[in-house]
């Protein structure tokens, strides 16, 4: 209850939140915030990944996912080969113009909540392939949460990117089923 007290006194100072406080009241707000935080904690440590691997970065992904560097330490061990079961879309390797519709379909088939990681320079910006065939960054096709640079990125960079994504998930506003959606 101590946390709730600190939270309500903090929100009183902000003028924007005082309106919300009148409507919801402190206990409701406390529950929502705590639930949000618990959901964030649960979601960031149970990332089911869909590896969308098209090129040489896949080798680096394998070494990052296997025993030496072990993505499973951070709760991202499960590889799901169906987008419907995945939370994290790992786009690893060059995405060509011909492949762009496939990538978009895979992203749209994933169920919420979902996050996208651009793995390697090619997915971030097209990399060395500044030509007619390659999409110059996958953020032209789908929204991206974390960019991991490198050609290919070292496994440490990948782990750092994963930690950054976990931090983002913990602090973002969570969506859940019975919550009122924003219009």
């Amino acid at each position: 209850m101590l946390g709730g007290k600190a939270l309500s006194s903090g929100s009183e100072k902000r003028s924007g939140l005082s309106e919300m406080k009148k409507k919801q009241g402190p206990p409701a707000q406390f529950i929502t915030t705590q639930f949000n935080s618990i959901l964030g904690w649960a979601r960031k440590y149970s990332l089911f990944q869909y590896p969308f691997i098209t090129a040489c970065c896949g080798m680096e992904y394998m070494s990052a996912a296997c025993a030496h560097f072990d993505l499973d330490r951070f709760g991202a061990g499960w590889t799901r080969f169906s987008p419907r079961q995945a939370d994290m879309l790992l786009v690893v390797g060059t995405v060509t113009q011909k492949l762009a519709p496939v990538l978009r379909t895979v992203y749209e088939q994933m169920t919420d909540p979902k996050w996208v990681v651009a793995f390697g320079t090619c997915t971030v910006s097209g990399g060395i392939y500044d030509n007619y065939a390659v999409v110059q960054g996958i953020d032209l096709v789908i929204p991206v949460d974390v960019y991991i640079p490198g050609c290919p990125p070292r496994p440490e960079t990948v782990l750092d990117g994963l930690l950054k994504l976990q931090e983002k998930i913990q602090h973002q506003e969570q969506e859940w089923r019975w919550k009122k959606r924003k219009p």
Partner: protein, 159 residues
């Protein structure tokens, strides 16, 4: 001495087709008229030469020169352990050459690649359509006059 023999034989058998014959770094090179390609290839694939392998088939764009395109065929003879190159020049406004799919099966995809990248028409090809680029793509990207930064997105991009 062996390579001399093949080239001499080719010159004797196809005097109207073979324009130039030489040996470059141990490989035979024949520059021919495009109309005689199929007959020449049919001659080379059979005994005694047995160039039974089509290693590669590609095209070169000499932008600015008069016959602009040049088809290059790389053949390999397993019994002789020898390579042979056939070259044929093509005019820009009349880009067509006989298909070799009747002699070598792998010519199918190689010719589709050349059609996709350069726009050369292969007469007698069973299924001449793009192999690398998507169907809505316009132009031929490996031609020297294709704009360097021209993009043709397949789907509508965000933003």
């Amino acid at each position: 001495m062996e390579e001399k023999k093949t080239l001499d034989l080719l010159k004797q058998t196809f005097p109207a087709v073979v324009k130039e014959a030489s040996t470059n770094l141990g490989d035979d090179v024949v520059i021919i008229d495009r109309e005689g390609l199929l007959g020449l290839a049919n001659f080379l694939i059979n005994k005694p030469h047995e160039y039974t392998m089509l290693l590669d088939l590609t095209c070169v764009d000499f932008l600015g020169q008069k016959p602009r395109f040049e088809m290059v065929y790389h053949l390999f003879s397993l019994p002789q352990n020898k390579r042979l190159r056939i070259k044929a020049r093509l005019e820009e406004n009349d880009l067509r050459i006989a298909s070799l799919t009747s002699l070598w099966k792998n010519a199918d995809w190689l010719e589709r690649e050349v059609f996709d990248m350069f726009g050369v028409n292969f007469e007698g090809h069973p299924d001449l359509r793009r192999i690398f680029m998507y169907d809505c793509f316009e132009g031929h990207p490996l031609r020297k006059d294709y704009p360097l930064r021209k993009r043709q997105p397949c789907i509508k991009f965000r933003e």
